[in-house]
Assembly symmetry: C2
Homo-oligomer: 386 residues x 2
């Protein structure tokens, strides 16, 4: 039989490692003859852009620990008739399994393809291999790509903190814009190296919260008064009643990040009169090569490998999931979950991970996240004093 693999959505730092794991495993499987790859997700399937990956092993291995999607990402939405076309194409190429590496969008696609093939009475298999820096998929303890993005942010916050501490007497507010879709998983990672209340950041907001501008300005004012400086983390999908409906709409419509941080900075400057700077790391969250977590790379690879094994046993319509067995020592097992009830659902940042009063994640969240990072944090800068 032949198999097909594709990548979907925006890239991560480890998405190529899942591809590499799957391709290596498939290459060693006697039952598998050809390993097809599709360029730009299901678009490549629909537009005849399939390539033989067994001929590209060297390139895939070289890219395996590098950010970006070596097969190209896709944001294509399924049109009527597409499912049937994809299934026909698979039959033409004698492809029995389709592995789709992606987030919530591709989970829905895999589920739909599985149903369609089943309905037609066809013996095809469809497996979803998760990836997203947003960490917003149900069924898995966490998603490959998230640990590396969290690792980058937690370091960036510490670096920017040394700068703010140096310029403390010139009191300023720094707004750092976090990615993470509609959930606060990534924004929360900004606080992972904090060991005292004064340390940066002092205010973290989640997209799950709805806030009015006056509420936020009050919180900014009181934090600033308390600490004499203020680093705040604002998700790019943060809705602020009043001012930010338009900016948020822009964000979605035109792929326009920066709206929330910029507009909030303008409001702080105009209403409170504080110097306010913005930092927008943008796609650095998913491409900051030097911050790829080793644990993340390892798990991305194992998920790819296990996906091939599982499909060889005949299963279909599932997502490859990480199940955490223990925090200390960190231990996981890879399981499969039926996509039926989880595909496409966003997993919000859990209530027990969030301290609403302090605008900070809880220690429970730290226990969850720390094993996934490269914990090489900077000693916070302490100015010399008399």
């Amino acid at each position: 039989m032949n198999i097909l693999i594709a990548q979907s959505g925006g890239p991560t730092s480890v998405i190529n490692m899942s591809l590499y794991g799957a391709v290596r495993k498939a290459f060693a499987e006697k039952q598998i003859k050809h390993i097809y790859g599709s360029v730009n997700g299901i678009e490549g399937v629909l537009n005849d852009r399939l390539i033989l990956l067994e001929k590209k092993l060297v390139e895939i291995e070289k890219a395996s620990n590098q950010p970006g999607s070596i097969l190209g990402g896709s944001r294509y939405s399924l049109q009527e008739g597409d499912l049937e076309k994809i299934i026909n194409k698979m039959e033409t190429f004698n492809i029995k399994v389709f592995y789709y590496i992606g987030g919530n969008g591709s989970a829905r696609t895999v589920k739909a393809l599985h149903h369609c093939a089943k309905h037609q009475g066809k013996e095809l298999r469809f497996i979803h291999i998760p990836k997203t820096i947003d960490n917003d998929l149900y069924g898995t303890d966490h998603t490959p790509g998230y640990p590396s993005a969290a690792n980058f942010l937690s370091h960036a916050v510490q670096w920017i903190g040394t700068d703010m501490e140096s310029m403390k007497t010139y009191g300023q507010i720094e707004i750092i814009e976090a990615m993470g879709g509609n959930t606060g998983w990534l924004a929360s990672a900004s606080a992972i190296a904090k060991s005292s209340e004064e340390q940066y950041p002092q205010l973290v907001y989640l997209p799950e919260e709805k806030k009015s501008l006056s509420q936020i300005l009050k919180e900014v004012e009181s934090s600033y008064q308390k600490y004499g400086k203020l680093m705040m983390i604002i998700p790019d999908h943060f809705f602020i009643q009043g001012i930010l409906s338009e900016a948020s709409a822009n964000t979605t419509r035109a792929g326009y990040n920066g709206g929330v941080a910029y507009q909030l900075a303008a409001q702080i400057i105009n209403n409170l009169g504080y110097k306010t700077k913005i930092t927008i790391p943008g796609t650095l969250y998913r491409s900051a090569y030097s911050f790829t977590s080793k644990q993340d790379l390892k798990e991305a690879r194992i998920l790819g490998e296990t996906a091939v094994e599982q499909a060889m046993k005949g299963i279909s319509g599932v997502m490859m999931c990480i199940k955490r067995l223990s925090n200390k020592p960190y231990d996981v097992e890879i399981i499969t979950k039926d996509l039926e009830n989880i595909a496409g659902k966003e997993k919000a940042f859990p209530k027990e991970f969030w301290d609403k009063e302090k605008h900070m994640p809880t220690n429970k969240y730290k226990t969850y996240l720390l094993p996934l990072l490269e914990y090489s944090f900077l000693k916070p800068l302490t100015l010399l004093e008399k």
Copy 2:
């Protein structure tokens, strides 16, 4: 005798190394009894915040390779009578030499103090130790801090490039905002890893250029058509006739970065209809610890050490300068230059380093910059094809 050291302006990744070099050298000098440090530049001198640095050797050594200013930065402007007050304070503490680590502002302060003391017939010495990520000081081949900031940007551009390449079929424009004050030294570093025209970034703008909005939109349109994607580097002090006077004014007035990138993105979206994202690394340019260049650290230290040696020989009113002797192998010597004609003057990005037609720095600039970086660049991502 006693001496005094202080740090000024925004921090860099290596400003503490210059301090460390000077303090170590002074500690070993028999003529020197006490090494005073001032907290927050000349403000600390004016407000009695002097500390004995010989008691802080361990802390200074620990911070020596870390970003931030361990003595605190300063953006204080000299008021009438301040020069005399500083000189009085130096006499009170029997301080014979004042070393000021900083950019153009502190160069002017050092020159003014030197003149004032000379005018009063006092045997005091004043030495300027350069630091700025802007690289805009006359007299020195380059300034400590610049290589590390350039190193960070050149890597960030490559990372963001892998993301753009992965999403190429979803054509987008990415605007990266560069620091660098009124000169294009830092923005130009974004192109240092480029080996072909298509590689990222495709358009670099310098603050030395004045452009109208319609000119820029024309250049964006034609680059986008040519490459099917576009990464452009825009300095945060970039003046665009028409739209950006207000944003630029804000930048200066309120310490408000992000204005230029945000406003230009809005113009591109509204006028050309392309998806446009912005990345604002902000103070990461001067704090991205993992990108501190070893050459930069080394030179920052030597400048601090040599400054102590020179002052012991009796010189005053000078800047410590790097003079390049050769590119291959890279070799420099440390010299002093009289601040008389160079203090406070901005060194624009040289014409021979800039290709106006291509919106790119020339190979001459690459020859200049490369020896200062950690040249560990990523292989650009190439999507797999049939």
